[in-house]
């Protein structure tokens, strides 16, 4: 097994370790980039870093293969499994040069080449032999695909990026739910879910307070805390998906709107 699809626990530990007492978007200075971790000598560290990568990119990759390459669900699933297995085995990621492109662009280019090669050789299903398949929710990804049918595929880099962010946020939401439940703060997630994840954004604090048997002040505080933790978790995951520290800083600023000095 390369690594678990959900590295929520480690991401949360990272977020906590970064010391988010202040709300300013933190940029961890000591944590090594995912490329450094993958290039490292320690096999376990390398495996975990690769697991983080696979967890963050498998679904954008799957949707990309389904929509751009128009592969069948089975073929796309095989290619995703094979791609991450071969990328790990053959050290694709280690060849990344930050001066040439963003990491996700590099990864998408690798995926394109991989599809071209496998289509030529018609051996996608044979690749990755000897390596356990990742435990990934392909049926769930296939269900989500219907929502993406109207996506604009003219800008593939943007599509891939948007899908990466979607997957990132989904993992952060799941992590938030899990950690809230584990720490006995399920009410905090319920408030977040009812207000920020509801189909309609117009639920008033007073209505929520009445429905959840809380005070308006509690609603305000819970939402405040939940949003902060959500951001911490999303940043933790984002960090594991960027090629370099600088790329992480830029992506974080783009994602949450904080600019560097012009």
């Amino acid at each position: 097994m390369i690594g678990s699809a959900g590295s929520a626990g480690s991401a949360f530990k990272v977020a906590s370790r970064l010391g988010y007492a202040c709300a300013v978007i933190p940029f961890p200075a000591t944590r090594r980039s995912v490329i450094e971790r993958i290039r490292g000598a320690d096999t376990e560290v390398r495996r975990t870093a690769f697991g983080d990568l696979a967890a963050g990119y498998w679904r954008p990759s799957y949707h990309y293969l389904r929509l751009h390459w128009r592969l069948s669900p089975e073929a796309a699933e095989d290619v995703v499994q094979a791609f991450f297995a071969v990328a790990f085995e053959k050290g694709y990621v280690e060849r990344y040069d930050p001066s040439k492109a963003k990491f996700r662009t590099f990864l998408r280019t690798c995926l394109d080449r991989f599809v071209q090669n496998t289509q030529k050789a018609e051996r996608a299903e044979k690749r990755g032999g000897g390596v356990d398949r990742l435990s990934l929710d392909f049926p769930g990804a296939e269900q989500a695909l219907a929502e993406l049918a109207a996506s604009d595929l003219r800008d593939l880099d943007r599509f891939f990026r948007d899908e990466m962010i979607r997957a990132l946020f989904e993992r952060a939401v799941d992590d938030l739910r899990r950690t809230c439940e584990e720490s006995g703060k399920a009410a905090l997630f319920r408030v977040f879910e009812r207000h920020d994840l509801a189909p309609s954004p117009d639920v008033s604090y007073a209505t929520l307070a009445r429905d959840l048997d809380l005070t308006v002040s509690q609603i305000t505080n819970y939402l405040h805390t939940a949003r902060r933790r959500f951001r911490e978790l999303a940043l933790g995951h984002l960090h594991s998906l960027c090629g370099t520290e600088e790329e992480f800083r830029l992506e974080a600023r783009e994602l949450f709107g904080v600019e560097a000095d012009p």
Binding site: A23, V24, F27, R166, P201, N221, H224, R227
Partner: protein, 334 residues
């Protein structure tokens, strides 16, 4: 795994990006706008039960220059109590130490969006004079805006005109007559260090464009006001060449009068000394123009002067002419 629609992804990105205020007096409602220096949010003041606007710097840390500029802007605005300047209600620190300030929530359109509805010269001049009046007030208070442009002018629902974005304003040093030393009033700092270029191309005075923003005085704002006037007639930014300015103004329909075009050219002079010294001087010339008097920017020929005199006193002229026609008619009838 939770599936998030595009709308939910955007909403989560929005709520997770919102500034975290240390007190619970204000509840952020929605983002309104985002500029190079800061982001503005609509918020509810729970204490007074009203909607306000909150501006937060885009700085990554409290020590960033952007954050210092936001603080400077709040203090400049607090000094300038004028109907043409958005009042600041409150200021404070976010949980991360960055500055924010609270101001009146202005509902309206920027001049860039509102200009199409200003078809007639009189309507354009009413808006322009309110901008110039506000800038003149700031000049008297020792403050130079340095970034006047259509998107920094807001026209409210009831016709009120507001000059926005004082983030790169320069506070002029006050000379202490006794000591002979210059100092900044009330702890305000000059918004830039020497050699920094600030402003917007097409509305920026040549001295600013050459990187001398730290010495840009009231004539720099006069230049921008001239560029604004030029833009209100042509819809484009002012070219650096004055001959091109004249050609462009002459090509629009209806073209501004020669005297108004001369006022625009004087504002857009390359050398600061050739422009109006302050916005107040520009206002005086505009007032003379509106009254039909001669303006300092334009030396009239005798024919022009006579034509202006005829237009200005046309009622009197028509009465005299009518009287003369009647006298001639009576003379014939006899």
């Amino acid at each position: 795994m939770t599936w998030l629609s595009n709308d939910l992804v955007e909403r989560l990105r929005d709520v997770a990006s919102r500034p975290e205020l240390a007190s619970d007096r204000y509840v952020i409602l929605r983002p309104i706008g985002r500029g190079g220096m800061g982001s503005v949010y609509a918020a509810r003041d729970e204490q007074l039960g009203r909607e306000v606007a909150i501006k937060v710097s885009n700085a990554a840390a409290p020590t960033d220059d952007l954050d210092q500029r936001l603080r400077q802007e709040a203090r400049v605005l607090a000094r300038l109590e004028h109907p043409g300047i958005v009042p600041v209600h409150d200021a404070g620190l976010l949980e991360d130490g960055r500055w924010f300030y609270v101001m009146k929530l202005v509902r309206g359109k920027t001049l860039a969006d509102h200009a199409a509805s200003l078809e007639h010269e009189a309507a354009r001049l009413v808006v322009f004079e309110r901008v110039a009046e506000t800038v003149a007030f700031a000049h008297v208070a020792g403050i130079v805006h340095r970034d006047l442009k259509p998107s920094n002018v807001m026209v409210g629902q009831f016709g009120e005109v507001l000059v926005l974005d004082w983030g790169v304003a320069r506070v002029l040093a006050r000379t202490d007559r006794e000591s002979g030393a210059d100092h900044q009033p009330d702890g305000l700092i000059d918004g830039t260090s020497g050699g920094t270029r600030m402003g917007t191309a097409g509305f920026m005075a040549p001295e600013q464009a050459h990187g001398d923003s730290s010495n840009a005085g009231p004539p720099a704002d006069v230049y921008a006001l001239g560029a604004l006037l030029f833009w209100m007639w042509t819809g484009s930014a002012a070219p650096p060449d004055l001959n091109e300015v004249s050609r462009s103004l002459g090509a629009v329909s209806p073209a501004p009068s020669r005297r108004l075009a001369a006022i625009v050219r004087k504002c857009l002079s390359h050398a600061p000394a050739d422009r109006y010294a302050t916005a107040a001087e520009l206002m005086d010339d505009l007032a003379r123009y509106r009254q039909g008097s001669s303006v300092s920017a334009h030396r009239e020929t005798t024919i022009e002067r006579a034509g202006r005199w005829l237009v200005r006193y046309q009622t009197f002229v028509w009465l005299v002419l009518a009287y003369l026609v009647m006298r001639v008619a009576f003379a014939f009838l006899r």
